[in-house]
């Protein structure tokens, strides 16, 4: 196994290690299919942003990172943002540390084909 393959394998292990790592169950619902549960990293935190009005404000940022090969095994395409309002978006939900489940839609995805992972940026979604 060369370093590239080793790196991809390590990435998958790290992303999906829920016993000793940061991984957790993430429910991904494609626009035209049933929800699928995969393991990956989820992030939902506050950060300062500059809206260019001269005032820094605090806002939330959420994202997930999952293995591309895991998505393929689950029969899912790579999630992507959906700007067309006549279409359903990719929807993601996961629980926080207190067990509260939060639901988001995918606004942007950044797949790393060589690293075997995709990072999706999220925003709050109401159903």
């Amino acid at each position: 196994m060369n370093l590239l393959a080793q790196s991809a394998a390590d990435s998958k292990v790290i992303l999906e290690d829920s016993a000793a790592g940061f991984a957790q169950d993430i429910t991904i619902t494609p626009p035209d299919g049933p929800p699928v549960v995969v393991r990956g990293w989820a992030n939902d935190r506050a950060q300062g942003i500059d809206p260019e009005t001269g005032l820094m404000v605090s806002a939330r940022e959420a994202s997930i990172a999952v293995s591309l090969s895991t998505l393929a095994l689950a029969g899912l395409d790579v999630p992507k943002g959906e700007a067309d309002e006549s279409q359903r978006p990719w929807v993601v939900s996961f629980a926080d540390l207190h067990g509260k489940v939060r639901t988001f839609k995918v606004t942007e995805s950044n797949p790393d084909q060589m690293g075997d992972l995709v990072t999706c940026t999220l925003e709050v979604y109401r159903r």
């Binding site: 404000v57 806002a59 940022e61 959420a62 067309d84 309002e85 006549s86 606004t107 709050v124 979604y125």
Partner: protein
């Protein structure tokens, strides 16, 4: 030569730029309330005319980004308007060095709109579009209210000489700051020409003069009779 204080009166009055800033906010608030009443009487949704008005707020959209503001927590999503004083400069041609200075100032009315992406029967509603539309709707109300003929002088005739919308600019968060809440802002700049006044020297009476005005019975000419008490031994 030692310098001694000359102003004996306590300076308590606010400058007019402060009063105008607060006046702009007050106008927006009362007219928004009135519009809601009119809308309700007309059978329309009054929420479409509701503005939440702040003055010099450093984080006016804080209520939208709290931890509980999530997909299952509905908060007040009415547009926010933050009125701020930006800057002004003196027009020397319209000022004097003693008592009155004419300033041309700029006041910001930053209109913030909030949008959450929402599932609909067919497709979904994008939060970014909703946020932009909300900000622009708020700016529409702000401009129409402030430029209404009722407020030509912002209710401060004698202080305000002119008010005029100057520009409208949309603000969007930086490209690398993608957030879960979609908030967009539109800055409406309002230019205001106004007078500022300053403490004045209070004069001391030097001589008392009594005068009477008469109308001549002959030709109606006005006559003035005055008594000037003179000191015979100056």
């Amino acid at each position: 030569m030692p310098l001694t204080a000359q102003i004996d009166d306590l300076i308590v009055d606010r400058d007019n730029f402060e009063i105008i800033r607060d006046q702009i906010a007050a106008i927006l608030l009362v007219e928004s309330k009135r519009q809601q009443q009119i809308a309700a009487a007309a059978g329309q949704d009054p929420e479409q005319w509701r503005l939440r008005v702040y003055v010099e707020a450093s984080n006016p959209w804080a209520s939208w980004v709290g931890e509980d503001n999530d997909d299952d927590a509905r908060r007040d999503e009415s547009p926010v308007v933050n009125v701020q004083f930006d800057q002004d400069e003196v027009d020397r041609g319209k000022s004097n060095v003693v008592s009155r200075q004419h300033h041309n100032g700029t006041f910001f009315c930053d209109c913030y709109g909030y949008g959450i992406s929402t599932e609909e029967l067919h497709g979904h509603r994008r939060g970014d579009r909703v946020a932009a539309f909300e900000a622009q709707r708020a700016a529409r109300l702000v401009r129409k209210i402030l430029m209404a003929s009722h407020y030509t002088y912002l209710g401060m005739q004698g202080v305000v000489g002119i008010r005029m919308t100057q520009s409208r600019t949309m603000f969007r968060p930086q490209i690398d700051a993608r957030t879960v809440h979609k908030i967009e802002a539109l800055r409406l700049s309002l230019s205001v020409g106004f007078n500022e006044f300053s403490p004045q020297v209070q004069g001391q009476p030097l001589e008392l003069i009594s005068a009477s005005v008469f109308r001549s019975e002959v030709d109606g000419q006005l006559l003035l009779r005055a008594d000037y008490p003179l000191n015979p031994n100056p």
